[in-house]
């Protein structure tokens, strides 16, 4: 793993720590921020220590993210983000879930894409999963989900 990779997460956490510390010590009423001040002081010290070590190339823990791993994750991550932050509410919880589930199966199922049997199996698994979710959450637990454009 390249050492510079450590700089990105530790830098982001150090920036977060500085912001938390700044907000904790500048916002009022002071009484409400007493505990956040205590926590953020430790937070910022540890975050800057970690960032400093990453900058000096001394960070060792973790395996980092390789190119192949990142490229494998990316399509699934994009589908998951679209599903959670857009489709579930706009299209409807169940239709959004069905589309995302089917898309993920199609992206990662090792079965050959040129066989009609594979697609039929994916459709059947998707329908089965959504049916179980509907029975479990809508019927058994009476959870009212966003309807969106469809359902």
């Amino acid at each position: 793993m390249r050492q510079w990779q450590h700089v990105i997460p530790s830098g982001a956490i150090a920036a977060l720590g500085l912001w938390v510390c700044y907000v904790s010590f500048t916002q009022q009423p002071a009484q409400a921020f007493l505990f956040p001040r205590l926590i953020s002081s430790v937070f910022v010290v540890l975050a800057l220590w970690t960032f400093g070590r990453a900058l000096l190339g001394l960070s060792r823990a973790g395996t980092g993210i390789g190119r192949t791993m990142f490229l494998n994750i990316l399509p699934g991550l994009i589908v998951a983000v679209i599903y959670i932050f857009w489709a579930a509410e706009v299209l409807g919880f169940y239709s959004g879930s069905a589309l995302a589930f089917f898309a993920l199966l199609s992206l990662y199922d090792p079965a050959p894409n040129d066989a009609a049997k594979s697609w039929l199996r994916r459709i059947m698994i998707t329908v089965g999963f959504i049916l179980v979710m509907y029975l479990l959450f809508a019927k058994l637990l009476s959870v009212f989900t966003p309807r969106g454009l469809f359902f």
């Binding site: 509410e89 999963f129 637990l141």
Partner: protein, 506 residues
């Protein structure tokens, strides 16, 4: 002997149904590589909302117990540990299966899991009330230090980097402060409307434990299922029982080590199996057989990782300090029902506490019985393609998070924390201390605020928080756990450097 009065509660139809369902479901989930016991329990929490607290805890407890044992099925039949706790089982269990002794290995693993597990739950039954009474002596300053101790112990012992573990704990405690302050009603760190009510524990738990595993499954790409399930021949259960009794030394070592490790907050089952395996090997007259399909290896590893379950709940139920990440998730399950560990639990909700603990005792027996029958099915489920598992877990995580408050905000929080945690885990950060910080943060803050008010009216904050034998003892334990872990990390680094230098010379 108060627990005896509540035994009947476990045998009501609803409780028994949940116990059986949780046990069978847990065995199957546990056998599935990539689905950890912690994640299984986190995903089950939304289903407990509409249940009575005792019933909800029965379901979570059964899942916790059986997922740990279920992991042995894939370890033995597929050479893939269902959970990190089952790594040691793979060493001899799979070798036995390859020799056509798969059924014997499975029987020994479930029998020794049950034996270790029952001993562990008995420890829980007898130690918990004593410690809970002792916890009565704790004031706000002690409870504050206990919360800090919980975060630092898990943050330092359960990670590869002490600083990153503590930093994760701090982030968790900061996340717990988001929302409205309880006393002044002031807004704190609300940068998005979804955060107005603060961060709900259940979506956070689901996100932090389930989403990184979903992304880890994506990371493997379009990978076909690698290994085949080894066929299991019939084997008389009586013979397996006799074999386990004959190997009493391995069983005793596994049970004792698992129980002790379970009692120490933060260590958990991952190392219980490995330490027990190592010690059983050292004390065995047949140590040369270890790793080649020796029954003692399976017995020691499996009795240890299940003996750990009961004792890991002792510090949780008495002092709110979870003994393992899964126990931390169980704490979340308790808090959402408005039940606080310690004296509140045993004085005000003895029915909940004892029904839950008794159910774990019965659960060990059920796990043993069902384990032997469900093993074949569980091994087949373990072969379900990762693509299906990833999509199912993602769907359950989204539905489960939404169902907590019927709020999309919770789903956004779950996804953001989960995606962030996956990337942070690649760089040595871990979810367990962050979760502990999130759960124990409000307890620490409430006691810090209360303690500050008392201190302002009496002997000042320094004297109040740093004075007194119990405060000093707790502070010393915090310092010792950090120092010990830092020392171990430095020693490991030196060892790595020495190994690298040797390799370079060679």
């Amino acid at each position: 002997m108060e627990f005896i009065y509540y035994f009947g509660e476990v045998f009501t139809p609803t409780a028994l149904m949940l116990l059986v369902g949780g046990t069978i479901g847990g065995l199957i989930l546990g056998a599935t590589p990539g689905l950890s016991p912690t994640m299984a329990v986190a995903l089950l929490i939304p289903f407990t909302f509409r249940l009575e607290p005792a019933h909800g805890l029965i379901l979570l407890g059964a899942a916790y117990t059986s997922t740990v044992a279920g992991g042995a099925v894939s370890a033995i039949l597929l050479k893939i540990p269902g959970a990190p706790a089952n790594i040691a089982t793979t060493l001899d269990g799979h070798a036995m299966a390859m020799q056509g002794r798969g059924a014997e290995a499975l029987q020994l693993s479930f029998l020794s899991s049950a034996a270790g597990g029952i001993f562990g739950v008995l420890l829980l039954i007898f130690l918990t009330p004593m410690l809970a009474k002792w916890a009565l002596a704790f004031g706000p300053s002690h409870l504050f230090w206990l919360a800090i101790l919980g975060v630092t112990v898990i943050g330092t012992l359960d990670t590869n980097s002490v600083v990153k573990g503590l930093l994760s704990g701090c982030m968790g405690m900061w996340l717990a402060t988001i929302g409205f302050d309880d006393i002044m009603g002031a807004q704190r760190f609300i940068v998005h409307p979804s955060l107005t009510g603060g961060i709900s524990i259940v979506p956070a738990l689901i996100g932090l434990f389930a989403i990184p595993q979903v992304l880890a499954m994506f990371a493997r790409g379009r990978q076909p299922v690698g290994s085949d399930v080894i066929a299991v021949q019939k084997h008389p259960i009586g013979r397996a029982m006799r074999e386990m009794i004959r190997r009493w030394r391995a069983l005793s070592i596994g049970t004792a080590i698992g129980s002790i490790i379970g009692l120490i907050p933060g260590i958990g089952g991952q190392i219980a199996g490995l330490v027990a395996y190592d010690q059983a090997k050292k004390f065995s007259p047949e140590r040369q057989k270890f790793g080649k399909g020796h029954s003692e290896g399976v017995i020691a590893a499996e009795s240890a990782n299940n003996a750990m379950v009961g004792p890991s709940l002792v510090p949780l139920l008495t002092l709110s300090v979870p003994g393992s990440p899964t126990a931390a998730v169980l704490l979340g399950g308790l808090l959402i029902h408005g039940i606080f560990p310690g004296t509140d639990l045993f004085d005000n909700h003895p029915d909940v506490a004892w029904t839950f603990i008794n159910s774990m005792l019965i659960g060990q027996i059920l796990m043993c019985i069902f384990g032997l029958y469900v093993a074949g099915l569980a091994a087949r489920v373990a072969q379900v393609p990762q693509s299906v598992m990833a999509a199912v877990v993602l769907g359950l995580a989204v539905f489960g998070s939404y169902s907590v408050q019927n709020s999309m905000g919770d789903v956004y929080v779950m996804a953001t924390l989960g995606i962030g945690m996956f990337f942070l885990e690649r760089f040595g950060f871990t979810a367990a201390p962050l979760v502990l910080g999130l759960i124990l943060g409000p307890i620490a803050e409430a006691n810090f605020t209360q303690g500050s008010m008392i201190a302002d009216a009496t002997d000042g904050r320094f004297g109040y928080f740093f004075g007194g034998t119990l405060n000093i003892a707790l502070i010393l334990i915090v310092i010792a756990s950090v120092a010990y872990s830092a020392w171990m990390e430095i020693r490991q680094r030196r060892q790595d450097r020495a190994d690298q230098a040797k390799e370079a010379q060679a």
